[in-house]
């Protein structure tokens, strides 16, 4: 089986793929809103793991320049710089989603998305 041997060769990519599937399954099946936000965070970290593992070079050093070391000995610094932006944006999105959840709990008295949908359907009818 060629695909399985490729997957075992690229095991970091495989693990990030599994984490993405776990995150999206958590987001789609659970009706609790806080659990949905945790699933979104798991999806975020899986994509960050994928990006950083693309830039890895086997036996490479961290990209802090030391004198007398050639440029081929360091790992790729560009995915690290992009992911550093992504972590802060993920925290901002999480904080805004949590403030929305607090307001929803004040309005409806529950954190369950299905119950909120039922209450809204009852109010509209």
């Amino acid at each position: 089986m060629e695909i399985i041997s490729r997957l075992l060769e690229n095991y970091y990519y495989f693990v990030s793929m599994v984490l993405f599937i776990i995150g999206i399954h958590t987001m789609l099946t659970h009706s609790n809103l806080i659990k949905k936000v945790i699933g979104m965070n798991i999806m975020d970290t899986s994509i960050f793991l994928f990006f950083v593992s693309i830039g890895y070079r086997r036996g490479g050093m961290a990209p802090i320049i030391q004198p007398g070391v050639e440029a081929e000995m360091y790992v790729n610094p560009l995915p690290s710089a992009l992911i550093l932006t992504g972590i802060v944006v993920a925290v901002s999105v999480t904080a805004y989603a949590l403030s929305l959840i607090v307001e929803l709990y004040k309005q409806y008295g529950t954190c369950c998305a299905n119950e909120i949908a039922q209450i809204r359907a009852r109010e509209e009818s």
Binding site: A62, I64, A95, L98, S99
Partner: protein
């Protein structure tokens, strides 16, 4: 929370955490770290203080007015340093190409304006994290009577 152990340990630990946060901010161009990580450590130290004592005590150390001024000031400081590169006859947000570089690479004062930009980012991230935590955990009518 009225635990004497937690209060004593936090009173000893918080200054060291803040010094470490400032170290991470100012040595961002020499060692791992930078504005975001150091700012998050500074904000976490203030949240630790507010959790171990009282939420009101944390608000006395860093009030809402001061926090909002720090937050806006971090962004404006960043833009002002960018305009400094523009005033010296180069593009927006350039430092060493505009003639601002000084020092040899590897020393503390070597990166041009990099550590000033990191200071702005760090102050902004720290005040943002503390304000978010304070507004999320504040009670409704009792004026921040937590726990």
């Amino acid at each position: 929370m009225k635990d004497i152990v937690i209060r004593t340990v936090c009173r000893v630990i918080v200054p060291f955490v803040q010094v470490y946060g400032l170290y991470v901010i100012f040595h961002g161009h020499l060692s791992p770290g930078g504005g975001f990580a150091g700012g998050a450590i500074l904000g976490s130290s203030m949240v630790l203080f507010a959790l171990s004592f009282h939420l009101e005590a944390g608000a006395q150390k860093l009030g809402h007015e001061t926090s909002s001024y720090l937050e806006s000031g971090g962004g404006i400081w960043y833009i002002l340093i960018g305009l400094l590169g523009l005033a010296l006859g180069s593009n927006f947000l350039t430092n060493r190409a505009a003639g601002l570089g000084f020092g040899l690479p590897g020393q503390l004062f070597s990166g041009g304006m990099i550590f000033l930009l990191s200071l702005g980012i760090g102050v902004k991230v720290a005040s943002t994290m503390f304000t978010l935590f304070y507004n999320l955990s504040e009670e409704e009518g009792s004026g921040g009577d937590h726990q």
